[in-house]
Every structure is written in C-alpha cells, then in structure tokens.
C-alpha cells in the first residue's frame, strides 16, 4: 500500500508521517514544494519505504500523476487548497483525508460527495483533533443517548513550561478565531454570531482548571447539524478557551489594529501589518519538543454524556500529537478497508468509534466518558 502525505514535512505532516511509518509497513511519500525539506525529513527514517517528492500543488498534472496508484492522499497543507486537492484525487482515483476546512471550505468540499461516490472512493473531512476526535466522540455518545438536543464542543490547553504567555498554536489561526464570525446552531437554525461572543466558563477539573471560552468558527458546525438531525439536535456550539490574561492581550492587539491586513510602508517596501506582528509574536510560538503541555478536547451532549480526549506531549507538543495521529489512523483505516463506503463524509459518519479509540489509546491519547476511561 502507498500513502502520499502532502505537506509531509510541515508541523502536522511530520507527525502523520512518523505515525504511518511506525504503525504500517507501507510506502510513504513526503511531498511538497520544498524538496530539500522533504528529503531531509525522509532521510531521518533511514528506510527505503519513505520517499521525498517535489510537488507544486497548483500544478494539476504533476499532482495527479503523483497521486495515481496511491491508496490515500493525506492533505496536510493550508486548508485553502482542500477543494483543489480533492479534485486531483477524483482524477487520480485516490481516497482522501484532511485536517478540516474551517467551516466555509468544508461546506464547499461536501459538494463533491456525488463525484467521490461515482468513483467508489472515500474522502474524510477534518480528521485531526478538533475537528476529528471531537466528531468521533460525538458519534459515540450519540449512539448511546439516541435522542439529545444540544452538543457543546470545546478544548483546553495547559502548558506548564510557559505560564506567562505562550501561543498554543499559530498566531494567525488564533487571530482568525477571535475575528471571524462563528457559526452557531440555535433552536435548529444556523446563525453567525459576533466574534468573541458567547462567553462561558468551563470547569475542566484539576488538571486543566477553569477556563473561559467564547464562540469560534469551526468545521464541526458544518456537519453536526445534518449528521445529528435525526437525533433531535437543535443547539450546537463550539468554543475556544484561553486564560483571561491571554485573551485580553490578543484582543488588545486586534482592537488597536495590529492584526489588520492593511499595507504599511517600511523603508520603501510594503508589508501587511499582520505579517510584521506575526513575526514579532514568533518568540511566543509553540515550541516543538515541549514536554510539558497537555490538551483536552471535550464534547458534551445535553449534560448527560461528557466525552473527553486527553493528549500529552510525546516529544512533540500535545496539539501536534492529537492532530497528526488521528489523521494517520483514519488514512490507515481507509487503506486497510476498516472504513467502508464511498463519498465525502464527516468523521462522525465515516469512522467506527471503538476501533478508532483503540488506535488512539495505543498511541497514548485517552478517551473518557463522564470521567471514566473508555477501553
């Protein structure tokens, strides 16, 4: 069998490749624009089954040729290219997985369902940590509850190394979360709320403490309303949580114009304001190899079933662990025919929760139902 990992030398891509290498005996192709980076990472495995390929994903013929003959295309590049890459998979007749499309891109991707059905292949959208593990946990709880009205999704990070101020993931993504209009399902209707609204305090228990959350745009909202309609779902909310001090600072930067995309002139050159701010904020970036952080993903159905996933650092930061690993697991499950069917599917529809949880557990990511570990 053969996996092609687009962006396989990026932060998440690396974690995916490493998991594929560890848990399969198959061929893995690390593909991307930067051949040197791809080669360097491939060489680190000292194995003939890991190969590097230079690829420009805006070049259709080149990408389709590369994908032909592979079992699964694992898309770990910026989500703006998701639809494009899925179209290449259709031509190459390859299965597909990705890390999510931040709602709007996901909606466009779902429209390719008929095309994937026609070729008998499967595409799973958003199978990282969140979206991803959260979707599968929701599916698991839904089977137990059968009827429920609400799903509340959130996550929390704790970084013991950097209590002062640290970015849990990319600064630009955090800014998007604070500024894009979040989708919320209210009384059966999908609405777009004000950025930063919907404040709520969560108590995550001893390890993660109390954290304040607010609505953010997320892919779960693109599929849950339809996936759980038959269960009676009327309300669904996604919140991102940060400690208050952190939020206050990010909000101040936004309010005072430091995250604007406007151009500013320095020494005769034009720069986007956010690019310079991003550069200044680089020193707070998540550190690879940080061994002190943990991430918790939570899905709460009607306050009756609370599902938690807890990931710890394995040398990589926990958010890299719980994003890369599930994506690799899904790709393997497709290749091994442990996921059957065809079309473009959300994880809650495609994946069998128990075998997925078992795979997560083998890799140190634990799933809890009402605080009891699911085994």
């Amino acid at each position: 069998m053969k996996f092609v990992v687009l962006g396989g030398y990026g932060i998440i891509g690396k974690a995916v490749v490493s998991d594929l290498f560890k848990y399969t005996k198959d061929e893995i192709i690390i593909a991307g624009r930067d051949l040197a980076k791809a080669k360097k990472y491939a060489a680190s495995f000292k194995s003939s089954r890991v190969l590097a390929k230079e690829i420009d994903i805006t070049n259709e013929r080149q990408t389709v040729d590369l994908l032909k003959g592979s079992d699964v295309c694992v898309n770990c590049v910026q989500y703006y290219y998701n639809v494009q890459i899925m179209k290449y998979c259709l031509k190459a007749k390859t299965n597909y997985v990705d890390l999510g499309g931040l709602f709007h891109e996901t909606k466009k991707q779902l429209k390719l369902d008929g095309d994937f059905k026609k070729i008998g292949k499967i595409a799973i959208l958003g199978i990282g940590g969140t979206p991803g593990i959260t979707n599968v946990m929701a599916a698991y709880a839904a089977r137990l509850l059968k009827k429920f009205k609400s799903i509340d999704i959130t996550f929390a990070d704790v970084d013991y190394a950097n209590k002062e101020f640290a970015l849990p993931y990319s600064f630009k993504t955090i800014v998007d979360e604070f500024t894009m209009k979040p989708a919320v399902l209210k009384n059966g209707k999908l609405i777009f709320a004000n950025p930063g609204s919907g404040e709520k305090e969560y108590d995550f228990g001893k390890e993660f403490g109390k954290q304040k959350g607010f609505y953010t745009l997320h892919s779960e909202l693109a599929t849950f309303p339809e996936s759980f309609d038959k269960n009676g779902l009327k309300n669904c909310e996604f919140r991102v949580t940060f400690d208050q001090n952190f939020s206050r600072k990010i909000k101040k930067l936004i309010e005072t114009g430091f995250t604007s995309s406007d151009l500013i002139n320095f020494g005769g050159k034009e720069f986007k304001i956010i690019d310079i701010t991003d550069k200044i904020m680089e020193k707070f970036s998540p550190k690879l190899g940080n061994k002190n952080d943990k991430e918790l993903l939570r899905v709460n159905l009607d306050n009756k079933i609370i599902m938690d996933a807890v990931a710890k650092s394995d040398g990589d930061s926990s958010w890299i662990v719980d994003t890369g690993i599930p994506c690799s697991i899904a790709a393997q499950m497709i290749a091994q025919k442990r996921i059957v069917g065809s079309g473009v599917l959300a994880p809650e529809k495609a994946i069998n929760p128990m075998s997925f949880f078992m795979e997560l557990r083998r890799r140190g990511i634990k799933i809890f139902r009402n605080k009891k570990e699911v085994k």
């Binding site: 930067l253 114009g257 430091f258 500013i264 050159k269």
Partner: protein
C-alpha cells in the same frame, strides 16, 4: 523669507499644535521635518513654511536654522535628537526650547551649560506640560515654603470614550515604562522596582487612578534647583486610565517596545517603530474628550510648622482643538515659553529647566487665555 521660529519635529503631533498656537499668536514659522503632507493644512497660512530636514544629519539641522533666519529654535522632535539640535543652536548662536529629555538625555543636555553660557544663548529644556507647566507650578509653590522635604508629582488623565488614542509620543511612553524608574530618595538617586513603586489616589476631575513611578526629567532638575531648600525626596508618577494602560501593558509584555530589529523580507524593522506606526493609524472617535490633571504635592515647612501644598493644572479638550485632546498642554506650552523667550520675558544664558527661568505670572496668564487652569490647594489662581 525670514521666520520668527523654526520648529523641529514640526510635522509631529506636538510640533503641529505648537505651530498652530504660534500662528494664531501672530508669528511666522517654518516647519522642519520629513512629511510635508502631514502639515498641508498649516501650510495654507501665508506665515507658515516648510523645510525638509533629516534629523539624523546634524548639518541638515544647522543649515535649516541658518536658512530660516529664525531667532528662536523650537524643538518638538523625539528626545533622541535634543543634543544634536542643541549643538546646531551653538553653531548658529540661537536660543532654543524643547520638550525634555527624560533622565539620561537631560543629563547630557546640562553638560552643554557652559557652552551655552559662553555663546550667550539659552536652552530651556522641558517646556511642555510635564516637564513644563509642572516645573513652573512647583517653583511657584516652593517660593511659599521656607524649606521643602518631599515633592511628589506627575500626571493623570481620562477620556469620556474608553477607546485607545495615542496619549503622547509612543516612543516616549514605551521608554518611560521600559527603563526602571529613578527617584530621588534621601538625597540620592535610586533605581526603583516599578512593581513596588505604584499608588492609587484620588485626583481632582479624574477620580481614583493608579499611578506608576516612571523615569522623568523633573526628578533631576528639581534636585538641582531646590537643593538650597533642603529637598530630600522626589517621586514622579504617571497615571493612565485603565483602557489605555491595558494597551500599553500588552505592548510591553509582548515586546513591541523592543528596539532590537527584526528581519522580514530583507527589511529591518524595530518593533517600537512598528508599534508607533500602527497606533498612529487609529482615528480619534467622534465626540472623544479628554481631561488631564498635572499635579504636584509638596511637603515642607513654613514658619517652623509642617506645611503641605498641592498644585494642579486642569486641562480639558477645548472647542476647535478636539484633535489635540489634552495634548494642547504640551504643544501650546512650548509655544508660550518660546514666545516668552522671543519677547525677552525669559532671559539669561546657559541650560535651564523652566522652574529656574520662567516667570510664573505671565506664564499662568497665557495658560488661562488657552483655558488651562492652575489651582493652588484647590483654589484657582489664574
């Protein structure tokens, strides 16, 4: 054409306020700076001119002064240029005013005292609100005491709309909060731990506000001029309303005050310059009004008994000057003092703080005309 005044930093916030005040007082001015576009409204006045000057080049400064024919040099530029502008004044034998040099640069400026005396010209340093009005108020009060033990002073301000507006030069603000504050304590200068040096007090027209020790030039000049009155302690404390301080604190915590260049696409950018540029884009909200209180508390003795005095200068947004907010107390003060220098009310040669050379009566009178009111122990005196 020969001008009455040349204004360096003439295209900046304070320079523009000063220029308008001088024009409205009937004088002719030439604005020296780099951004002509920023002063196009002022240049509609026939008595106003513009000259391109790069302050990094001292010959440029000297040539501009010569060309202008101006008798008085007004320096409203960033304080890092104070010494070079003073040197150009020595070269051209022109007296000058400036907005102060915090601690370090003020000390450098006073080193030129002998040269200024020799040249028969004067530099009055710190001619804005604080340093500036604060110094003249203090001199006024000190005169009424036999001896003086402690002076606490500073500024507090607030606005009706709680939105961030640049209060004054971002470079200065970030510097003031980056350098450890220096206070005069028992006759010695000491570096304070900022976190330990704060206090929350009630202020006239402002209410309760937290103030922080910061580096300021008054600590140095007061210890010099009031030594003979026995001064032992001087504390300078700045207060910002919460909505403004939260932004300043965020920028400090995240390193936007840094002068260490970052590299992006081949360009080198100082975070502090970037922060200044980004914040300058913020528009002043409609109906935005400020109130500032420049305050001095003095603890001393009069006729053998303990005596406490409090001086306040209250400045509010004035109709027709809305864009300037309470910054009129800086830009218009330096205009007043520069005029007093030109008309001979301020005399002498050497380098001085305003508390040593500015006659208070005339100065307070000019402030009153501009709706800036001085209070002595709560009673208005101008």
């Amino acid at each position: 054409m020969t001008y009455d005044f040349i204004i360096f930093g003439g295209t900046g916030q304070q320079g523009k306020i000063c220029a308008r005040d001088l024009l409205e007082s009937g004088y002719s001015i030439i604005l020296a700076g780099r951004n002509k576009e920023a002063v196009k409204d002022l240049l509609k006045n026939k008595r106003a001119g513009f000259i391109y000057v790069d302050l990094k080049n001292i010959d440029d400064i000297t040539n501009a002064i010569k060309k202008s024919g101006a008798e008085i040099v007004v320096n409203c530029a960033e304080l890092t240029y104070n010494v070079d502008i003073m040197k150009a004044c020595l070269e051209t034998k022109r007296s000058c005013t400036d907005l102060g040099g915090l601690q370090k640069i003020t000390l450098e400026q006073f080193k030129l005292d002998k040269d200024f005396k020799k040249a028969g010209i004067i530099n009055v340093t710190g001619c804005g609100s604080t340093p500036g009005i604060a110094n003249v108020m203090t001199a006024y009060a000190v005169e009424k005491l036999d001896s003086i033990d402690t002076i606490e002073l500073g500024f507090v301000w607030d606005s009706n709309i709680k939105k961030f507006v640049i209060p004054y030069s971002m470079h200065s603000i970030l510097d003031e909060f980056t350098e450890m504050p220096v206070t005069y304590h028992n006759g010695k200068y000491i570096k304070e731990n900022r976190l330990m040096c704060t206090g929350t007090f009630d202020f006239k027209e402002i209410g309760r506000q937290t103030t922080y020790c910061i580096v300021h030039s008054e600590v140095y000049t007061f210890s010099k001029y009031f030594k003979k009155k026995g001064i032992k302690n001087i504390h300078y404390m700045a207060g910002f309303p919460e909505h403004s301080y939260a932004v300043i604190k965020t920028l400090l915590d995240l390193g936007f005050n840094s002068k260490e260049e970052i590299e992006i696409r081949g360009a080198k950018i100082k975070p502090v310059d970037f922060a200044d540029k980004v914040l300058s884009r913020l528009k002043i909200p409609k109906g935005y009004k400020e109130v500032e209180n420049i305050w001095v508390k003095l603890y001393g003795k009069k006729s053998g008994a303990d005596k406490q005095m409090e001086m306040n200068c209250i400045v509010k947004t004035v109709n027709g000057w809305e864009e300037a907010g309470s910054n009129i107390d800086t830009g218009r003060s330096i205009s007043i003092m520069s005029q007093m220098l030109k008309n001979g009310s301020i005399r002498g040669s050497g380098v001085y703080g305003p508390e040593a050379v500015v006659p208070w009566k005339e100065f307070f009178g000019e402030l009153r005309k501009r709706k800036m009111f001085i209070y002595e122990n709560g009673r208005r005196i101008n």
